[in-house]
């Protein structure tokens, strides 16, 4: 990709400092990262290396202390609160380790929620479609408590996809799952990258799950210390 072509994400010289004085913690100490459209990137690194902080900054859940972050055409530092909210709602889908579904809503209602908050019509129909995409059409009327952990995470992925976001950000998406359900969630993420060209950034400490991404980015002490491009799935026959 030519360097002047717009990337899905462009992180430049980003630092993030929490607290001050003796409680000062530099979570990110000058991170540069570029993610192409349709790329699936796994961020790894020991705990405290800044993985989740970086993901939160890319997702506009928090602001960097210095440096710039561009998501699509938007430089986050130039957006006011209103536009940041819209960006988070419409262009970024989040998946967390704890599935963060509302217990009293059905799978379909949970998935429809972002559309309803955004005032869009036919939210339930779009939600049903998104659930079908993650293989859960038959579970749409179930409450989260009636679903397995793996199914709950797939509902959360459907909710993240329902707005057709530019980015899917996943913070330890398999961290709460047994290996079988974790593998299923990873197969789903991989197929979203392959079949929809979905741009995905995933934080994980699971080597087998990271190995399914297109590129590994390793953080240590708030810096990118290593990157490794892996052969694309299906390329080697």
């Amino acid at each position: 990709m030519a360097s002047n072509e717009k990337a899905a994400i462009e992180v430049r010289d980003v630092t993030k400092v929490f607290g001050s004085g003796e409680a000062r913690v530099e979570a990110l100490a000058g991170v540069n990262l570029r993610v192409a459209h349709g790329e699936f990137v796994a961020i790894m690194g020991p705990s405290g290396s800044g993985k989740s902080t970086l993901l939160h900054l890319i997702g506009a859940l928090d602001l960097p202390t210095s440096g710039s972050i561009r998501v699509g055409a938007d430089d986050l530092s130039t957006l006011d609160d209103n536009r940041l909210t819209l960006l988070r709602r419409r262009r970024i889908g989040f998946v967390f380790q704890a599935f963060n579904l509302l217990d009293v809503l059905t799978a379909e209602e949970n998935v429809a929620l972002p559309l309803e908050v955004d005032g869009q019509a036919d939210a339930l129909a779009a939600a049903a479609e998104a659930l079908a995409q993650v293989g859960l059409a038959h579970r749409r009327a179930h409450l989260p408590g009636q679903l397995s952990g793996g199914e709950q995470q797939r509902v959360a992925i459907a909710r993240a996809l329902v707005m057709n976001p530019l980015l899917l950000l996943a913070d330890e998406p398999t961290g709460n799952l047994d290996s079988n359900h974790g593998d299923q969630v990873m197969a789903l993420l991989r197929s979203l990258a392959d079949e929809r060209g979905q741009t995905i950034v995933m934080v994980t400490h699971h080597p087998g799950h990271a190995a399914l991404a297109d590129r590994l980015v390793r953080l240590r002490d708030g810096r990118v210390v290593e990157e490794q491009v892996l052969a694309r799935i299906g390329e080697k026959e």
Binding site: H206, P207, G208, L212, Q228, L230, A231, G234, K236
Partner: protein
């Protein structure tokens, strides 16, 4: 079973993707026969040469069951070579054990990527259980190796 059937069964189920040569199969059968663990009878065929059909003897059965119930010795794992490299790199002037970790990790991720791909492809075709066992073993061993490398890196950094 005769020799050819044994070879085919081994390749199909027992150790997929690792072809045996005939010489190996017949030499092994011969040794087992000498030790009294298998016996054969000769079956005459009208249109082809006679073939030998092998079966386990009672002693062969006993030994097979004993083997199944005896825990396997630790595998001699060629990757333990990595541990040697780390230890030596700590002592050798101009060598950096952290670079050894990084190089091993990159290679292991490449292998893990391949092993995961093989497994994903295989799963779609609903392979025999034996095939899945071997593919899972490859993936899980590489994951364990990568976790061990992370652990080594933390220990080496603490020492610095």
């Amino acid at each position: 079973m005769h020799g050819y059937e044994l070879k085919a069964a081994c390749e199909e189920e027992l150790v997929p993707a690792s072809p045996l040569n005939f010489g190996q199969v017949y030499m092994t059968l011969d040794r087992l026969r000498r030790d009294g663990l298998v016996a054969h009878e000769v079956v005459t065929q009208s249109e082809r040469p006679d073939k030998k059909v092998y079966a386990l003897t009672p002693a062969g059965h006993r030994q097979l069951h004993e083997w199944l119930q005896t825990p396997s010795p630790p595998q001699t794992d060629p990757r333990h070579e990595t541990a040697l490299k780390l230890v030596l790199a700590r002592r050798l002037a101009g060598a950096d054990p952290l670079q050894v970790v990084a190089a091993e990790r990159r290679a292991a991720f490449e292998r893990l990527r391949e092993a995961s791909q093989d497994r994903t492809r295989a799963r779609k075709e609903k392979p025999p259980l034996a095939t899945m066992l071997f593919l899972d073993l490859a993936v899980l061993q590489l994951e364990a190796f990568l976790k061990w490398l992370d652990h080594c890196e933390e220990l080496l950094r603490k020492e610095k």
